[in-house]
C-alpha cells in the first residue's frame, strides 16, 4: 500500500530558502573550524598508524576450537561447508582415533578470498568448533595461496588472547570425557 508522505508546511523564510542556506553554511563552517583547530575533533582512526580496535563479537578471521587434549573439536560433519554461501570451506574427513568420536578433519581449509564473513558456518556448527572472534580483519599477502588457511593456522591461537569468562573458548564440552576416554584407551580397561 502506498504511503502518503505529507508535504511539510514551510514557513515564509523557509520557502525563501536563502535563510536556510545561510544556516546550513554556518553549521558546516562550525565543523570545518573545529576540525581545523582541534585534532581530537576528527572522528577517524589513524589507520595504519594506529591499529583499529575490533570488538570481540565482530565477525573476523575464523579459528577452530580445541578439546582439552588439543585435538580439534570439529567432527567433520560438513555442516559449515554446506551452510557456506561462498563455498570457501573445504573439509576432508578421516576416522578419529578416539572411539567416542566418529570423524575428525584431516584437512580443514578456508579460502579467505572467497569468504564473505557472513558467520553462517559459526551458526551451523553443532559442536561450537568454529568461531569468528579472532578480531583479525586485515589480511595482506603477495600470493593467493597465503589466503587459504589450513587446520594448523586455524588452530594456532593462544587461550590468553581470549577472555577468561568465556569458558567455551577454553574448555570444550565433553573435553574431559574425551581425555578420560583417551586415558581408558591407553590403559585398556574400556570395552
Amino acid at each position: 500500500m502506498a504511503k502518503v508522505v505529507p508535504r511539510p508546511n514551510l514557513s515564509f523564510w523557509e520557502q525563501v530558502y536563502f535563510v536556510e542556506i545561510v544556516k546550513g553554511l554556518f553549521t558546516t563552517l562550525k565543523h570545518a573550524g573545529k576540525s581545523l583547530t582541534d585534532a581530537d575533533h576528527l572522528k577517524v582512526i589513524n589507520y595504519p598508524d594506529v591499529a583499529p580496535v575490533v570488538p570481540r563479537d565482530y565477525r573476523a578471521r575464523h579459528r577452530l576450537m580445541k578439546r582439552a587434549d588439543g585435538a580439534p573439536r570439529c567432527v567433520a560433519c560438513f555442516m559449515c561447508s554446506t551452510a557456506c554461501p561462498a563455498r570457501c570451506i573445504n573439509i576432508v574427513a578421516e576416522e578419529s582415533p578416539d572411539r567416542h568420536i566418529e570423524k575428525r578433519p584431516a584437512r580443514f581449509e578456508i579460502d579467505l578470498l572467497l569468504c564473505v564473513f557472513c558467520g553462517f558456518c559459526v551458526e551451523a556448527c553443532p559442536c561450537d568448533a568454529i568461531r569468528m572472534d579472532t578480531t583479525e580483519v586485515v589480511f595482506a599477502a603477495d600470493n593467493r595461496k597465503f589466503f587459504v588457511i589450513d587446520k594448523t593456522k586455524l588452530m594456532d591461537w593462544n587461550p590468553k588472547d581470549y577472555p577468561e569468562t568465556d569458558i567455551q573458548s577454553q574448555k570444550a564440552p565433553g573435553g574431559s570425557k574425551n581425555a578420560e576416554a583417551l586415558a581408558a584407551l591407553t590403559s585398556g580397561t574400556d570395552h
Binding site: 542556506i21 565543523h31 570545518a32 573545529k34 576540525s35 581545523l36 583547530t37 589513524n46 595504519p48 598508524d49
Partner: protein, 478 residues
C-alpha cells in the same frame, strides 16, 4: 635606483607586455591550490583529516614533507599524465579530441578582461602614458567575458555529443539547457549594476565603485542573483547536474580519461577562479580597499573630513597599508604555527608508527610558520617606520598637470599594483572558498527544480530588480 627610475618607461613597457602571459599563468597556478583547498575543506567539513599521506622524502631531515596535502595535486597530475589514453571506439574522433581544449582556452582568455590593479599613469617626455590593469580595457569588456564564459559550454556539449554515449549526452543536454536558462538571469541581474555605472568596461566599473560604494551595497538582490547564476555557470553544486555522478555516471566526461579528463577538471576550477574574480570585481569593488570613505584628521585642512580611499590615497599611505596587511598576515601565520604545534603534540599522544619523523616534520612547519609570522610582523613595522621617517609624499615628484594628475615613483606604483592585486586575490579567495563551502553544504538540485528556479523565480526577480533600479536611478539623477 635612479638608473631604474630613469628607464621607468621601459620597465612599464616590459610589464605591460608580460602581463598577458603572466596573468593566465598565475591564475593557472592557483588551480592546484584550489583543488587542495577543496579536498581538505571537504574533509574538515565532514570531520575527517583528508588527504595527508603523500609527501616529499627529504634525505637529510629524516622525514618527509607532506605540506598539508599539496603534493597530492602533483601525484594526481603524474597519474593523469601517464594514464592510458583510453578512447571509446564509438567516438566521433575530431570533436572528441577538440572538446576538452575549448573550456580551458575560454577560461584562460577571461583573465584578460579583469582589471587586476588600478591604471598607472606615468610620464614619458612630459606626456602622460598609462599602464592599464587589465589586458583588454574596452567598452566590450564584460560582454567579452560573458562571451568566453558561454563558449566554454560548447566544449561540454561537443564532448558529450562526440562521446556517443547516452550518459554523456544526457549530461551535455542538461548542461546546455541550464546554461541557456541561467545566462538570461545572469545578464539581467548584472544589468542593474551596468545601469548605475553606465559602462561595460570593468576598469570603469571598479573606478565607479571606488568613487561611490561597492556594487553589493547598491545592488544586493542583483548580487545574490549573479552569485547563483555564477554557480550554475560554473557547473558547481548545487547546479552540477551536468556531471551528476550519482545519476548519470560522470555526465559529459564519462568517456574521457587521462589528460583529457584533467583538462575538463582544470577548466572547471579555472572557471571558478575567474567567476570569483568577476564577482569580486563587479560587486566587491575589485582591487578597492574599502567600500566607504573614512573620516580622517588633517590639521592643515582644518579638522576632520571624509577621505575616499582611492588609489592615490593608497599610494600616499602605502606604508600604513603594508603595515596593516603584513601585521594581519603575520598574526595569521603565527596562529597557523600555534595550530601546527598543537597537531604535533596530538601526534605525540597517538601511537604513530613513524612518530619521530612526524615530530620532526611538524617541528619544521611550526618553525616555518612562526618564522614567516615574525618576519611579516617585523617587515610591517619596517614599512610603518619607513613611512614615518620618509613619507612617500616627499618622494613624489609632483608634476601637476591640468587634470590634477599625480605621478609617483616606479617602485611606489609597482608596490601599489602588487598590493591591489593581493586585495583582489583576497576577495577571490573568499568566493573560491564560498564555492567549496556551498558544495559541501547543499545537496544537488533536481533538474526540474533547477529549471523552475531559473525561469520562474530568478528571471522574474532579475526583471523586477532591473525595473526598480532603472526607476530609482532615473529619479536620483533628475
Amino acid at each position: 635606483m635612479d638608473f631604474i627610475q630613469a628607464h621607468a618607461a621601459l620597465v612599464y613597457a616590459i610589464i605591460g607586455l608580460a602581463l598577458p602571459i603572466a596573468m593566465p599563468l598565475i591564475i593557472f597556478q592557483l588551480v592546484p591550490l584550489l583543488v587542495v583547498v577543496e579536498r581538505r575543506g571537504a574533509a574538515f567539513i565532514q570531520d575527517r583529516p583528508g588527504p595527508n599521506r603523500a609527501g616529499f622524502a627529504v634525505p637529510f631531515l629524516g622525514t618527509k614533507i607532506r605540506a598539508f596535502g599539496i603534493p597530492y595535486t602533483m601525484t594526481d597530475l603524474v597519474k593523469l599524465l601517464f594514464k592510458e589514453d583510453f578512447q571509446p571506439p564509438f567516438k566521433v574522433s575530431r570533436f572528441y579530441l577538440l572538446a576538452p581544449a575549448i573550456p580551458v582556452i575560454c577560461a584562460l582568455l577571461t583573465p584578460a578582461v579583469i582589471p587586476w590593479f588600478a591604471t598607472i599613469p606615468f610620464l614619458v617626455d612630459d606626456k602622460t602614458n598609462y599602464l592599464v590593469g587589465s589586458m583588454i580595457s574596452s567598452e566590450s569588456g564584460l560582454l567579452l567575458l560573458f562571451a568566453f564564459g558561454s563558449l566554454s559550454v560548447y566544449g561540454i556539449v561537443l564532448g558529450s555529443w562526440s562521446s556517443n554515449s547516452k550518459f554523456s549526452l544526457l549530461g551535455g543536454m542538461r548542461s546546455s539547457a541550464m546554461m541557456i536558462s541561467y545566462e538570461v538571469s545572469m545578464g539581467l541581474s548584472v544589468l542593474g549594476l551596468l545601469l548605475l555605472t553606465g559602462t561595460f568596461d570593468l576598469s570603469k566599473i571598479v573606478e565607479w565603485q571606488g568613487a561611490h560604494t561597492w556594487g553589493i551595497f547598491v545592488q544586493p538582490v542583483g548580487f545574490l542573483l549573479f552569485l547563483v547564476s555564477m554557480f550554475a555557470e560554473c557547473n558547481r553544486n548545487p547546479f552540477d547536474v551536468a556531471e551528476g555522478e550519482s545519476e548519470i555516471v560522470g555526465g559529459f566526461h564519462t568517456e574521457y580519461a587521462g589528460v583529457k579528463f584533467m583538462m575538463f577538471m582544470t577548466a572547471e576550477y579555472l572557471h571558478m577562479l575567474v567567476a570569483s574574480a568577476l564577482m569580486a570585481t563587479l560587486y566587491l569593488g575589485g582591487y578597492g580597499l574599502l567600500p566607504f570613505p573614512l573620516p580622517s584628521f588633517d590639521s592643515t585642512a582644518g579638522g576632520w573630513h571624509m577621505v575616499a580611499l582611492n588609489t592615490d590615497w593608497l599610494k600616499l599611505h602605502l606604508g600604513l597599508i603594508c603595515f596593516i596587511m603584513l601585521t594581519v598576515g603575520g598574526i595569521v601565520a603565527l596562529y597557523a604555527a600555534y595550530l601546527v604545534n598543537g597537531r604535533r603534540v596530538n601526534y605525540g599522544k597517538q601511537k604513530a608508527a613513524d612518530q619521530a619523523s612526524r615530530q620532526i616534520e611538524y617541528g619544521l612547519y611550526t618553525k616555518a610558520f612562526g618564522g614567516a609570522g615574525i618576519g611579516m610582523l617585523v617587515l610591517g613595522q619596517l614599512a610603518l617606520w619607513l613611512m614615518n621617517t620618509a613619507p612617500i609624499d616627499n618622494q613624489i615628484y609632483l608634476i601637476e598637470s591640468a587634470t590634477n594628475q599625480h605621478y609617483f615613483p616606479l617602485w611606489v606604483n609597482l608596490l601599489t599594483a602588487f598590493v591591489q592585486f593581493n586585495i583582489l586575490l583576497g576577495k577571490m579567495a573568499f568566493f573560491a572558498w564560498l564555492f567549496v563551502w556551498i558544495r559541501w553544504t547543499l545537496p544537488r538540485f533536481r533538474y526540474d527544480q533547477i529549471m523552475a528556479l531559473g525561469w520562474k523565480i530568478m528571471l522574474n526577480i532579475a526583471l523586477i530588480n532591473l525595473l526598480v533600479t532603472a526607476v530609482v536611478a532615473k529619479a536620483l539623477t533628475r
